[in-house]
């Protein structure tokens, strides 16, 4: 295991991006998307203090549970579903190999 996993990101046009992601860099999904130049803002920098990295987890991976902070911020997001998450709170780990997320629509 060389600490590289592959994750799938479906952008807002429905296009699939297969991204290689290191699991030993403390990176999260928001940062991974930004580094791949996908349209994720990450306004607050990853503190779960905005909702600009809202995405849906479409695969059945066991993603760590939402904190209260994340749940609170999702209150300020729109198009929230049961599988909604803030990308910045999903830290890349070996167990997430094959994870599929879909970027949530952005409001006005």
């Amino acid at each position: 295991m060389d600490h590289i996993i592959e994750v799938n990101v479906i952008d807002r046009d429905g296009q699939l991006h297969k991204l290689e992601a290191p699991t030993d860099m403390g990176m999260n999904m928001m940062e991974l998307c930004k580094s791949a130049e996908l349209p994720v803002e990450g306004t607050c920098g990853g503190m779960a203090m905005c909702a600009s990295c809202h995405m849906y987890v479409d695969s059945s991976h066991d993603v760590p549970e939402k904190s209260d902070d994340e749940e609170d911020m999702l209150d300020e997001a729109f198009f929230v579903e049961d599988n909604s998450r803030l990308g910045c709170q999903i830290y890349l780990a070996d167990a997430l190999d094959g994870l599929t997320v879909r970027l949530a629509p952005v409001g006005q």
């Binding site: 306004t43 503190m47 600009s52 749940e71 999702l74 209150d75 300020e76 198009f79 929230v80 409001g107």
Partner: protein
Amino acid sequence: MIQTDILIIGAGPCGLFTVFEAGLLKLRCHLIDALPQAGGQCSEIYPKKPIYDIPAYPSILAGDLVDKLMEQAAPFQPGFTLGERAETIEKDAEDQFILTTNRGTKHRAPIIAIAGGLGCFEPRKPPVPGLAAFEDRGVEYIIKDPEFYREKRVVISGGGDSALDWAIFLAEGVASHVTLIHRRQEFRGHLDSVQKAMDLAQAGKIQLLTDSEVTEAHGDGALKTLVVKHKTEGERTLETDHWVPLFGLSPKLGPISDWNLNVTKNAVEVDTFDYSTNIPGIYAIGDINTYPGKLKLILCGFHEATLMVQSAFKRIYPDKNLVLKYTTVNGVNGF
């Protein structure tokens, strides 16, 4: 008309440090910010979060950093126009910029430094089709004067403190009917506010609709009805005079995108020699600018501010020689 040497748009850390560096060169500064307080996102989004990459501070709370920057800038007596958004710029006959805010306050200066960070914070608008047509015709994103809602039917959306506090306030003898709509069952406001709202709901003074959200707005000219969708129980229609969606603030580049600056991906292009933009006399520093290798870090913004004021000085006083003075030798001599 407010006259100054450097007009700084954005009173975040970068704008505040500009006051200090400009002050060392005897240049006066005035700051404009759309938020009602100084500090930018440090104050607005994360005042209680520690920052670990400010040189010599292993850890400092964002709010404390702003306090210290204010203290550092104080000897240079900066002026502030807070709670107003920089809207338009023009040049006068003496080659000075005239900057007017959304409230009509006019400022004049030979130099403008845009330290606007992420842009101006504006209310987040829910994605309800046709919503814009009802803005100020029944839909408001900010409650300016609660009396506006006297004896009116008001629907408030949101789960935070402002939604709770306004629902409580309006339910206690102001509005004729108050409905509070929230996406889930739990509220994230202060416990006593949550309790009070629950008590008012029990007493029939607030109609509380949880696990629900507004999906449609209808009316002829003015707002008349909202369609509210419950997670499992389907839709219902509410008649109302007002709907106030309170979903927090998000930053937008705002009016400066109309100033003919070169902008890429919501950031202003600058020359790293002095952080000047394509318009002579206008500079951009901190998170709002972009250049090859740009990093959005407070400490990089401080560096940019320092180089920028040197260039601004030479622009204001082309005939004066500038010698870098070290504060350790000379101290800090305010105005």
